[in-house]
């Protein structure tokens, strides 16, 4: 186990380095260079100002030097300063983290609260009407564009029924009720596709476990069906499900960009989009780096959890 953990940690290092390279490389894709993005509209042809910004940003130095400078600052916790509002990037990200974490947690709750029971019911009663309904949910959930689902929820729950506010954000500790009212639809929007994936995974994992001989033995011993499922089957079936849930982090982050835009939530996804649109390169680099690191950590934790949950796994 320790050997595996050490090896797994060592594997992360080169990937983490490449994540910094890709985040940095975004600057290279900008036509011309990043200094142009800084020029005011009325001074786009001001050569002197352009050269000044190039020197300021260090763009006059060789590329490897630029990268090393940037990564050196990142290691000291300095992700640079936003082009748009001159705010330190890390500070900007920290301010927007709360709504995104809340949205992610609530979406995960929807994913597990809907996906797990549906998956279990489908597996216990395969080929039943409930199973068929579950299959339809999976197919529809994966194919539904989340922005469309969000808009349709707004149409029904806000415009027609006037049950919920269409968008905006109130911090949970300012007003828990107002916060939850605002977050229900975004969480459903983001959580539906994840719930479909969780449901599919739970169903197939549980179906496989239920065919194992030890389940037959437990049943033959006269154990109640529910006891067999809860005590014997679910424990093993949840191993691949945990992996799938852990690996949903990337999808979750991608989804926040859209969902936060549709519902006007001032989170990281919205920050990513605003920065990309505003060509705020330091902020884009910072947000991408943060998302990349978060996904890497999530994958690492999932892998470790996987080994912990399944003692049969023996890695070199």
């Amino acid at each position: 186990m320790t050997r595996y953990l050490v090896r797994r940690f060592l594997q992360v290092i080169p990937v983490l380095w490449l994540v910094t390279v890709i985040s940095f490389a975004i600057i290279l894709l900008v036509p011309g260079d990043a200094a142009i993005a800084l020029l005011p509209e009325d001074a786009l042809r001001d050569e002197e100002l352009y050269q000044y910004y190039r020197r300021e940003l260090g763009l006059d130095r060789p590329l490897p030097v630029q990268y090393l400078n940037w990564v050196g600052k990142v290691l000291q916790g300095n992700l640079g300063v936003s082009f748009r509002n001159k705010q330190p990037v890390l500070e900007g990200i920290a301010q927007r983290l709360g709504p995104t974490i809340e949205l992610s947690l609530l979406s995960m709750l929807v994913s597990m609260g809907v996906g797990l029971p549906m998956g279990i019911i489908s597996a216990i009663k395969p080929n039943s009407k409930l199973d068929a309904a579950g299959t339809v949910f999976v197919l529809a959930g994966v194919a539904t564009p989340n922005f469309w689902l969000g808009i349709m929820l707004i149409l029904v729950a806000s415009v027609w029924l006037r049950w919920l506010p269409a968008g905006g954000y109130v911090p949970f500790f300012d007003s828990p009720l107002a916060n939850l009212k605002l977050m229900i639809m975004p969480a459903i929007t983001l959580g539906t596709a994840l719930a479909a994936i969780t449901m599919r995974q739970t169903r197939s994992a549980l179906l496989e476990v239920l065919q194992q001989e030890y389940i037959t033995t437990a049943r033959a011993k006269g154990l109640a069906a529910l006891v067999v499922i809860i005590r014997h089957a679910l424990k093993n079936a949840f191993i691949p499900v945990v992996t799938i849930i852990g690996l949903q982090m990337g999808r979750l982050f991608g989804g926040t960009v859209i969902v936060e835009s549709v519902f006007g939530i001032p989170g990281i996804g919205r920050l990513a989009m605003d920065s990309i649109f505003g060509r705020d390169i330091p902020m884009v680099q910072g947000v991408m780096l943060l998302m990349g690191i978060a996904v890497l950590i999530s994958n690492l934790v999932t892998d470790i959890l996987y080994v912990y949950l399944d003692p049969r796994i023996r890695y070199g």
Partner: protein, 265 residues
């Protein structure tokens, strides 16, 4: 259903000029935000443009992005996957770590950043969606090559001195194609969804090119007065993605006899 959606999408894209009842860019200020009627089967938008005609023409963008970006991802992914899987060693390590790093970024954020950096246009959307899909193909091809490389007939071919080119062409490649076709068909659906997402966020094909994502975004502003302007483009994306996913699953079943037998049992 998958094949039906595929056929309808292709026919719609090819015959858009013939079957669309109106010019998709024609403005009709006398029929602004008209609900569905015989004159406009799916209603009109805020500029009086026919929603059905725009949907029909929008299929071209979806199909184009789906095919071109997945084609690009397939070519790049096959090259990288073959290189990593067949030659192995440091090339394999380096490429696979790069693939892992790409997987660490949410595809939509990466696609957004690439499109924004290159400038929003239909071709840049295709490039961005193609790039973000490449790692999945590279990983798939590499995995297939690795498993085939260890088979007895490949080892035997190596022993008798078969050249690398012939080995790749005759012995490795045929084993890679089936999963590649399945992956490509599933990724076309994903690419169409990505294009719609980028267009919805304002990073897709610039107006007046009709695109389902852009139509939805535009309709969102008139949700209360004209919900049909949001509903129908979203429904078109949903049906297309659903159908293409069906096709992908069907192909997987057809091309993998083990799955087929399991389904039969």
């Amino acid at each position: 259903m998958g094949i039906l959606v595929w056929v309808v999408l292709i026919l719609m894209a090819i015959t858009a000029d013939l079957i669309a009842p109106y010019d998709p860019t024609a403005l009709d200020y006398g029929a602004v935000l008209s609900p569905p009627s015989f004159a406009h089967l799916l209603g009109t938008d805020d500029l009086g443009r026919d929603v059905l005609s725009n949907l029909i023409h929008g299929s071209r963008v979806s199909l184009q992005v789906g095919l071109v970006s997945v084609g690009l991802a397939t070519v790049l992914g096959v090259l990288l996957g073959l290189l990593a899987g067949y030659w192995g060693g440091w090339a394999d390590d380096a490429l696979m770590r790069l693939v892992d790093a790409f997987f660490a970024f949410p595809t939509l954020v990466l696609a957004l950043a690439i499109t924004a950096a290159l400038g929003p246009s239909l071709s840049n959307v295709m490039i961005a969606v193609g790039i973000v899909n490449t790692p999945a193909f590279a990983r798939l091809v590499r995995g297939q090559v690795l498993s085939v490389r260890e088979r007895d007939y490949v080892i035997a071919a190596t022993v008798v001195g078969v050249s690398h080119g012939r080995m790749l062409r005759r012995h490795i490649w045929p084993n890679v194609t089936a999963p590649l076709i399945v992956q490509a068909s599933l990724n076309i659906a994903g690419a169409i969804l990505s294009e719609a997402s980028l267009s919805f966020l304002g990073m897709g094909a610039p107006p007046p090119t009709p695109s389902w994502g852009a139509m939805l975004k535009n309709g969102y502003g008139f949700l209360e007065q004209a919900p049909w302007t949001s509903f129908f483009p979203g429904a078109a994306i949903f049906i297309t993605v659903l159908g293409l996913n069906f096709l992908g699953d069907g192909l997987r079943m057809a091309l993998d006899p083990r799955l087929w037998q399991r389904g039969k049992a």
